[in-house]
Symmetry: C2
Subunit: 220 residues, 2 copies
Amino acid sequence: MASKSAAPRRTSITRLPELGSADRSQLNHLLDVSRIGHFGVVVDGYPVVIPTAIAREADVVLAHGSSGSRWMRALASGAPTTLAVTALDGLEVARSAFESSMHYRSAVIFGCCRPVNDPRGKRAALDAITESMLPGRVAEVRDPTPKELAATLVLSLALDEWSLKVSAGWPDDTEDDVAANAWAGVVPIMSGYGPPQPAPDLRPGIEIPPSVRLLGELGG
Amino acid sequence: MASKSAAPRRTSITRLPELGSADRSQLNHLLDVSRIGHFGVVVDGYPVVIPTAIAREADVVLAHGSSGSRWMRALASGAPTTLAVTALDGLEVARSAFESSMHYRSAVIFGCCRPVNDPRGKRAALDAITESMLPGRVAEVRDPTPKELAATLVLSLALDEWSLKVSAGWPDDTEDDVAANAWAGVVPIMSGYGPPQPAPDLRPGIEIPPSVRLLGELGG
């Protein structure tokens, strides 16, 4: 997520009558700039929350993990799940503590994951996850081995049932508070990339690849 | 969370033999720099995941929300919960897609929330949440009204049962991959604050307060 997309856009800073949004393009954008989501699943009657890397591909969210993970296997078995994807865009500083809040975008997707087992679909899903984190990276690395593919569980969650809340307004203070002396406004929260750090065992002469260079330019 | 604390510290970039950490001070630090957490709770047999602002105060995590929220009331009723608090610190770019990963800190806290109902404790908890978001802000705003206090539900979750995973290593590529031509390293992910934007209805002459100025210095 680059600074530009993480900062609240000027056009979006208007008090919305309702926080809820049914705008699929807004949902897509949030999923596309978010690197992680939190899956909820019930295991033995208890709630489990699993943070994991996500990527959107058309009408599904993809996630992957170790095929040895108990939680991933619970999700793959088709247990009902809730995926929360949350972006924090700013502090909404009101004139009272009560009205103070945050600018955020919060998506919740309901459904059941299905495992992606067919080799071609699994490979395509893993490529999509890699590209989502680091666009251009798939062309720079070797193909996964059959052993690596077998050790990876890929999950797909359809974007059928979802809700999206967007908080992007100005503080909504009472007239009395506006007339008093406290400051009010918004402090944007931004995210970006720092300078790439080469691994200690990197062979001399291997330059920073285009994928990583491009991230740096975005995060500048 | 300021840039400085969000960036992986140089000293932490060493491959850990195990990801798990029992270091309470590391847990405290993660909770203290994190502004939101994701609560999981089971409602009617289904998993619900609730993103919400959190603050740590000694040995508990505090959260607050509308007393009209169904999910907050489910948590307040003492239903078992899992709170996930996740910080993303960087992209771990390995020489293969399979070994590529993220630098993250991930805490999971298990237990049951208890509502903070006594007026003095509730007020102290709300102040702690405000200060956690914006240090110094409580002294700059008026006291909450009894009506505001009644409209707010405050939850406390004890730090009794928790786990912490920290991924902060260098890519762990095979010898063959190290000998080949792909780049490997880490790209830090950083978070900071942008310039404060005054509310359109701010009265002329009200300066940016110390609390907000300090944030800017941290995030600059």
